[in-house]
């Protein structure tokens, strides 16, 4: 597991809609500094956060009421399309423009494509309609993580760790004891674990009012390089699954700068949606569980970072989804690097 470079030809969760307004927000994404803001018509914009003049961060500048972005170092000004419209010191307009990133704003999430804009394909995004579906409610946010994206990806694709890392909330022996079924569809990797007649983990006892035994399903889908959706179903054993409690967790695993990752999350449910107390409890639990993951992944990151030679890893059958996830990302990266190489190599150069 040495993958520390980032795939750029893919969608990442760049921000939640409610994070971005008429102020300038900087966020590093796949080692690229990005400045997010809204234009007067409320459309969201993301540009590379480096002024083309002397690379000063534009996010330290100003946005005026017309949507003109000004660099606060020497006064370069850019219009809503990122084209330089003037500079304070001279009458002539410098020939400069900002790199703008393809964005999709949908259901309260802002998705960004940091790679080749030509390849940005909206159909690669997962269905997130439940984020605004009136029969669902959700909480969302982002947690900073000082560990490489791949460690978070493997954490989510191998939920066996719940048994050991989250024993007081969502894990118990049944998770590690139940094998997963893994599927691959193109670049996507999915797994399913169906636990029947098990003891209810504390989180589900409290948030669904269930007592043991319960049936619990985990269906995870990884949309490489950086999106993971977990479908959770819990029902009293002996009842039909569709009548049970449904939850979904969306994770945006967005590589930041170096081996840091933005761990975006949204946790939704389709029952007791007006119960504010339950919402508060679930949000607290989600953050507590994520903190356990963050602590573990940051400890793991140090071990990987200090072992560049890569001592051998041992793997077991429950790693299958995570290993397929690694392969999917590695393949995307290889494709991307091959394409860049092809673009750099002149096909035929006329002789002079």
């Amino acid at each position: 597991m040495t993958l520390t470079q980032h795939v750029r030809n893919g969608w990442y969760l760049g921000a939640w809609s409610d994070d971005v307004g008429r102020t300038l927000t900087q966020r590093w994404i796949t080692d690229v500094p990005v400045c997010f803001y809204r234009l007067p018509d409320q459309t969201v914009t993301a540009v590379e956060d480096r002024c083309p003049h002397r690379k000063y961060p534009l996010s330290l500048g100003h946005l005026d009421d017309e949507g003109t972005l000004q660099c606060d170092y020497h006064g370069y000004r850019f219009d809503g399309r990122g084209v330089c419209v003037g500079v304070a010191e001279q009458a002539d307009r410098p020939k400069a423009a900002l790199r703008r990133f393809p964005l999709v704003e949908r259901e309260g999430a802002i998705w960004i494509w940091p790679g080749d804009p030509e390849l940005a394909d909206e159909s690669l995004l997962p269905d997130t309609s439940w984020l605004t579906d009136p029969s669902w409610t959700h909480v969302h946010g982002v947690v900073p993580l000082k560990a490489r994206h791949m460690l978070l990806l493997e954490n989510l694709l191998d939920l066996t760790h719940e048994t050991f890392l989250h024993p007081t909330s969502i894990g118990n022996a049944a998770v590690a004891a139940t094998p997963i079924d893994v599927t691959v569809d193109g670049d996507r990797v999915g797994f399913s674990r169906r636990m029947i007649g098990i003891e209810a983990p504390p989180f589900y006892e409290k948030s669904c009012g269930l007592t043991s035994p319960v049936d619990r399903w985990q269906d995870g889908d990884f949309y490489p390089p950086g999106i993971f959706v977990l479908n959770i179903r819990v029902a009293a054993t002996g009842t039909e699954e569709p009548d049970g409690f449904h939850m979904k967790v969306l994770y945006g695993m967005t590589p930041g700068r170096g081996n840091e990752t933005h761990d975006f999350y949204a946790l939704g449910r389709d029952y007791l949606i007006d119960d504010q107390e339950l919402t508060r409890f679930q949000h607290e639990q989600q953050l507590a569980v994520m903190q356990e993951d963050v602590d573990a992944l940051e400890a793991q990151e140090i071990m990987y970072a200090t072992d560049p030679g890569g001592t051998a890893e041992s793997s077991i059958r429950s790693d299958l989804a995570a290993l397929r996830g690694r392969r999917a990302v590695a393949k995307m990266l290889a494709r991307e690097q091959r394409a860049q190489q092809d673009a750099r190599t002149p096909h035929s150069r006329p002789s002079v």
């Binding site: 094998p179 997963i180 079924d181 893994v182 599927t183 691959v184 569809d185 999915g190 399913s192 169906r194 029947i196 007649g197 035994p213 049936d215 269906d219 179903r233 054993t237 002996g238 009842t239 039909e240 699954e241 569709p242 051998a312 890893e313 041992s314 793997s315 077991i316 059958r317 790693d319 299958l320 290993l323 397929r324 690694r326 392969r327």
Partner: protein
């Protein structure tokens, strides 16, 4: 699939009869290949029955009640479906598939893409749910779990055994094969949940009876309830089949018995790999360095490019597409078909 009956000690009351228990179809009489869909018919809400013939036109292996086949989907996933046509028909197989919108997509794929005249990759049959001889049978079927019970009922009926079936489902229209079953008259109790509520297992199963075997297939909750009800019945009296699939890859044992030649083109050497030795070990013994770790076909460390030859994949990691491409292999477990490989080592 799990089936306590396959491993339960042989203590059921009809001891002598149990000695003749079919142990499932042995490997070697299994079919692995392509079948053509001869007919596709809706047999209940969201249930289609598929009638299959070997695409080669050859006869299919015989099977016993309770047997299933694996359908290998284009995604590489496999799904198990019980055979539910007449036993002894070696020209056709029949399976019935319920569309499960909350499933992992296998049944949806079959519903959406499999048409008459189309082809499917299948393996089998295998039997983890054999019907043992008994004087009396109680069959409990829930929803699509009726499928393995159909040939069992036919067999019990032909053997003049006493039998009855309790068949539950969500609604009557969701329940497949009703006409066929109801022709048996009072032996069959059809109990859709919207009319009758949960199945009256206590009333149907009654008290333990040493001459009776119980066979149940259906949703986990139903199976659990049957097992709970029969907790104090004689060991082996209750036989169930759950839908959960185990993803274990079956190696092709016959190929493991043959030595293979492996040319390591970059090193300019050729090694012979005897049965029982992995390609990885043979390569290492030839002094060619190669990364490896788990030696179980899981981690992918030993993945090696294949230049020539056909790979017999035994690993757990590669997807069906990657296997089919035949350009890479995990040399710790995978071998060769046709006795020869050329590797980029």
């Amino acid at each position: 699939m799990t089936s306590p009956s396959a491993t339960a000690p042989d203590t059921h009351p009809l001891g002598s009869a149990a000695a003749a228990t079919p142990s499932g179809t042995r490997r070697g009489t299994e079919f692995e290949g392509t079948v053509t869909v001869l007919a596709r018919q809706a047999v209940g809400d969201d249930v289609v029955a598929l009638k299959l013939v070997a695409s080669s036109g050859e006869p299919l292996p015989v099977w016993q009640p309770g047997a299933h086949i694996d359908v290998v989907l284009p995604t590489g996933a496999t799904r198990q479906y019980s055979l539910c046509g007449p036993v002894g028909d070696t020209a056709h197989w029949q399976v019935a598939v319920l569309r499960e919108p909350d499933g992992r997509g296998g049944s949806q794929w079959i519903h959406d893409h499999v048409e008459e005249g189309g082809e499917l990759r299948v393996r089998g049959p295998r039997n983890n749910f054999p019907l043992r001889p008994a004087a009396r049978y109680l069959f409990v079927g829930g929803g699509i779990g009726i499928t393995p019970l159909l040939p069992m009922i036919a067999e019990a009926d032909a053997a003049m055994a006493e039998w009855s079936l309790l068949y539950g489902g969500r609604t009557r229209s969701s329940m497949a094969f009703l006409a066929e079953l109801e022709s048996h008259g009072e032996r069959v109790a059809v109990r859709p949940q919207d009319k009758h509520g949960l199945l009256d297992l206590a009333g149907f199963l009654g008290d333990p009876d040493p001459s009776t075997l119980v066979y149940c297939c259906g949703p986990a909750g139903l199976i659990d309830a049957v097992e709970a009800h029969c907790a104090d019945w004689p060991a082996g009296a209750v036989n169930v089949e759950r839908f959960a699939a185990a993803a274990v890859r079956q190696p092709a044992d016959d190929a493991a018995e043959q030595p293979i030649e492996v040319e390591l083109r970059a090193s300019g050497t050729t090694v012979t790999v005897p049965p029982g030795l992995s390609v990885l070990k043979a390569v290492e013994q030839a002094g060619v360095p190669v990364l490896s770790s788990c030696e179980e076909g899981i981690c992918g460390s030993c993945e090696t490019s294949v230049l020539e030859g056909e790979v017999d994949h035994r690993d757990s990691l590669l997807t069906e597409d990657e296997r089919a491409a035949n350009d890479t292999m995990l040399i710790c477990v995978s071998r060769a078909r046709g006795g020869r490989l050329v590797l980029d080592l």
